[in-house]
C-alpha cells in the first residue's frame, strides 16, 4: 500500500515524450536523396547549370549575407528581443565596412562593419531593453535611422573621396580567395562530365571549395559556432533562458538585462558582418540601397529555420540557391525547377493518399499535372516569374512542410526587473 508515491508522471499519459531526433545518418540520407532528385531533373531537362560548380559557389556567396542576417536575428530572438532592425544594422555594416575598408584595407573594413552593426544593435538594445519599448517600433526606427545616417554621412565622406560619390564608396581591396588547387579542378572536371549523381555531388563539393573568400569561411563557421555557444555553454543557456522565461532566469540570479544587451549587440554585429560581406566580398564597393531587403529575407530565413542555426542556414541556402539559379541563366534553370516541383508534388500526392487525405491529394495532383503541362509546353519561364522563383519556392516549402515552428516563448515580450509575478 504505497499510494502516496504515485505521481502524476506515472499516472498521466505522457505528452510528446520521446521526440524523434534527426540523427546524422538520416540527415545525410535525406541530403543524398534530394541531390539524386535534382540530378534526375538535371539529366531529364538538360539544365546542367543546376548543380554546376559556379552555381553552387554563386549560391554560397548569395546565401552568406542572408545567413549572417539570419544569425543576427537568431541571437536577438533567442534572448527574447525581436529584431526587425536587421536591415538597418546590415546597412550600417555595408557603410562602415566600406568606409574603413577602402582606407585601411578589407579586414579593417570587416571589423568596422561588425562595429557599425553592433552600434545599431546597441541602439536597439537601449530602446527595447532599457526603455522596454515595443520591439518592432524600435527595429523600424533603427532601419530608418540607418538609412538616414549612412546617406547623410556619405555626403561628407565618399563624395569627397576619389572614385566615390555621395551614393557609392571607392573600391575596396578584395579579401583573399582560396581555391583548393588539385581538388577544385578535379571536381570541376568531374562535374563537367554530367554523370548522374556523381557529377552533381562533384559540383556541389566543388562549389564549396572554389573561389572561397576567407570571409565566407569565417561566416560559415559562425553558424556552428553560434550553435555551440548558445546550446553548449553556460553563457548560451543563460542567454536562451532570457528568451524563454526571463523572470525564471531572474529568479535564479541571471542578470537578464546583461544577456539581452549582449545578445542584441552580437545580433547587430552579425548583421553588420553580413553588410560588410556585401560591400567587401560580394561587390567591393559600398552602394546606396545595396542591401535591398536582405535583412528581411534573413529574418524570414530564421523563422523558416525555426529559430535554429541549422534550419536558418537551410533557409538561407534555399534563397541563395534559387537566387543564383535565377541570376545565372534563369529562364532555363527555373524551367527545370518546374519539373522538380512537379515530381515533389507527386510525392506529396502519394503521401496524402497514404494519409487518406483525398481532397488535398486531388488538389496536389491537379497542381502537379499543371506543372508537368507547363514544363512540357514551354522551354523557358517568363523572366518575371524567374524573378519570383526564390520567393515562391520558399512559400511552397513552408506550405508543404508541416509547420512545427516554435519561437522562444518570451520573444518580443517586455521585461522589467522585479515585475515578475
Amino acid at each position: 500500500m504505497s499510494t502516496s508515491t504515485v505521481s502524476a508522471t506515472s499516472a498521466a499519459p505522457k505528452k510528446g515524450g520521446g521526440r524523434r531526433k534527426l540523427t546524422l545518418p538520416w540527415i545525410l540520407l535525406i541530403i543524398a536523396g534530394g541531390l539524386a532528385l535534382v540530378s534526375l531533373v538535371r539529366v531529364i531537362s538538360g539544365a546542367d547549370d543546376l548543380t554546376s560548380v559556379g552555381q553552387i559557389s554563386g549560391a554560397l556567396q548569395l546565401a552568406v549575407p542572408i545567413a549572417l542576417a539570419g544569425l543576427g536575428g537568431l541571437w536577438a530572438e533567442r534572448a527574447g528581443v525581436v529584431n526587425i532592425g536587421l536591415e538597418g544594422m546590415m546597412i550600417l555594416g555595408t557603410w562602415f565596412g566600406a568606409w574603413a575598408g577602402y582606407q585601411w584595407g578589407p579586414w579593417t573594413g570587416v571589423v568596422m562593419g561588425l562595429v557599425g552593426g553592433a552600434l545599431g544593435g546597441l541602439l536597439h538594445a537601449i530602446i527595447t531593453v532599457t526603455f522596454n519599448v515595443n520591439h518592432i517600433v524600435s527595429g523600424v526606427a533603427v532601419n530608418i535611422l540607418a538609412i538616414g545616417f549612412t546617406q547623410y554621412l556619405s555626403n561628407f565622406t565618399f563624395d569627397e573621396a576619389p572614385g566615390g560619390s555621395s551614393k557609392q564608396s571607392p573600391r575596396i581591396e578584395p579579401i583573399t580567395e582560396i581555391t583548393i588547387p588539385g581538388l577544385s579542378d578535379w571536381l570541376a572536371t568531374l562535374q563537367a562530365k554530367h554523370w548522374f549523381f556523381v557529377s552533381d555531388l562533384a559540383g556541389v563539393l566543388g562549389g564549396l571549395v572554389t573561389d572561397l573568400s576567407l570571409l565566407t569561411v569565417v561566416a560559415v563557421l559562425l553558424i556552428p559556432a553560434t550553435w555551440w555557444v548558445l546550446w553548449r555553454t553556460a553563457f548560451g543557456l543563460r542567454l536562451r533562458s532570457c528568451g524563454e522565461n526571463p523572470i525564471a532566469a531572474e529568479s535564479l540570479g541571471v542578470n537578464v538585462y546583461k544577456y539581452k544587451y549582449i545578445a542584441v549587440i552580437v545580433s547587430g554585429a552579425m548583421a553588420g558582418l553580413g553588410g560588410a560581406f556585401l560591400a567587401i566580398v560580394s561587390t567591393g564597393i559600398y552602394q546606396e540601397g545595396q542591401t535591398g531587403g536582405r535583412g528581411y529575407i534573413g529574418l524570414a530565413a530564421m523563422i523558416f529555420g525555426n529559430w535554429m542555426p541549422g534550419g536558418m542556414s537551410l533557409g538561407a541556402g534555399l534563397f541563395g540557391f534559387t537566387y543564383s539559379l535565377k541570376l545565372r541563366g534563369g529562364a532555363e534553370n527555373v524551367h527545370a525547377m518546374l519539373l522538380l516541383l512537379a515530381i515533389l508534388l507527386v510525392a506529396v500526392v502519394v503521401w496524402q493518399l497514404y494519409k487518406k487525405k483525398h481532397v488535398q491529394a486531388a488538389i496536389s495532383a491537379a497542381c502537379a499535372a499543371g506543372l508537368f503541362v507547363w514544363y512540357a509546353l514551354t522551354d523557358a519561364v517568363p523572366s518575371q516569374f524567374v524573378d519570383a522563383a526564390p520567393y515562391v519556392t520558399t512559400l511552397l516549402v513552408l506550405a508543404l512542410s508541416a509547420q512545427r515552428l516554435r519561437m522562444p516563448k518570451a520573444d518580443g515580450m517586455p521585461y522589467r526587473k522585479g515585475q515578475g509575478k
Binding site: S138, A141, F156, L299, Y391
Partner: protein, 371 residues
Amino acid sequence: MKKFDKDRLLLAAAGPALALVSAFVLTMIVLAASGVAPIDPLRIMVEQAGYEDVQVLILNQAGIYYLAALAVAIGFRMNLFNIGVDGQYRLAAMISAVVGAAVTLPGPLHILMIVAVAMLTGAFWAGIAGILKAKRGVSEVVSTIMLNAIATALIAWLLLPKNLGVQVEGSNDLTTGKIAESGWFPALTIGDGLEIYGFTFVAFALGIVYWFVLNRTRFGFDLRATGASESAAQASGVDAKKMIMTSMLLSGAVAGLTGMPLLLGESHTYNLSFPLGIGFTGITIALLGRNHPVGIFFSALLIAFIDKASAGLDTAGYAKEIGTIMQGLIVIAVVVSYELVRRYGIRRQQQKVGEELAAGHAIKTDKEVAA
C-alpha cells in the same frame, strides 16, 4: 478627484511634447556634429509647412499613409504582423487600374467598381497569407515578405504590353491605360489648381469606421480579444482560424485602398513610377500612432510633414537625408518618452500613497475603498 484628472491630462500632454522637443534637439545635435548650422534646416522645414501648396501635399500624403497604417493596424490589433501591405496595395492599384481603364460606367458607379476591385484584390493577396497561416501555420511575417516580392514580379509580368499593359508610342513607361474621367474621384479644389484628393476624406472617414468596428461591434471585440489573448478568446467562443482569415482579408482590403487616392485623384493610371514602399511607412505610422485611429492620424500627418518639408532642403543646399534622420529620431523619441512619462506617472502614484501613509491615515488601499 478633479486634481487627479488634471494630472493625467498633464501627463498625457507631456509625452508628445517631450518627444518632439527631444527629437528636435537630437536632430540639431546630429547636424551640429556634422558641421552644419543646426537651426537653419529646421527653420526651412517649418517654413515649408507654412506654404499652402506644401500643406496640400502633406494632407494628401497623410491620407495615403493613413490607409496603409490602418491596414497594418488591423493586423496588429490581433497580433498579426502584415508586412505585406506594400505588395497588397500595389497589386490592388494595378488590377483596379486595368479594370477601371477597360470599363466605363457612369460616374459614381465607375469609382465604386474600381474601389471594390482594389479591395478585393488586396484582400485576395493578403488572404493567401491568411490561409497559409490558418491552414498550414506559416508565419505571416515570412509569407507576406515573400508575397511582396511575388507581387512585384506578378505586376511586372501583367504590365507587359503583351498582357494587360500599354506602352504609348515614344514612351519608355508602361501603363495600364488611362481611366476614363467618370472614374476620377472628385477633388476639393482650393484655388490655383491645388487639389485635396477626395479620397483623402474617405481615408479619414475610414478611421471612424475602424474605430467603430473595433470598439463598438462584437466582431471588433472578438478581434481585440484575440489580439490580447488568443487562448482566452478561443475559450470565449472565437474561432481563431476564422479570425485570422477575416482580419487578414480586412487588412488586405484596406491595404488595397492605399493606392486609391493617387489612382483616382492624380495619375488615373498605374505606371512604372507608381510609388512603392508606402506599406512599410504604414508600419511605422501604425506603431507610432499605437494602432489608434486618432494616433495614426497625427503620426501620418507628422511623417508626411517631414517627408514633404524636407524635400525642399536640397534646393536650399542641405542634405535632405536630414528628414529621414529626423523621422527615425522622432519614432524613438516618441516611444521612449511615452514610456518615461508612464513610469513617472507610476512613481508619482506610488509617492502619493506613501505620503498618505506618512500623513497618518489608516492603511487604506484602493481595494478597501471599493469593497
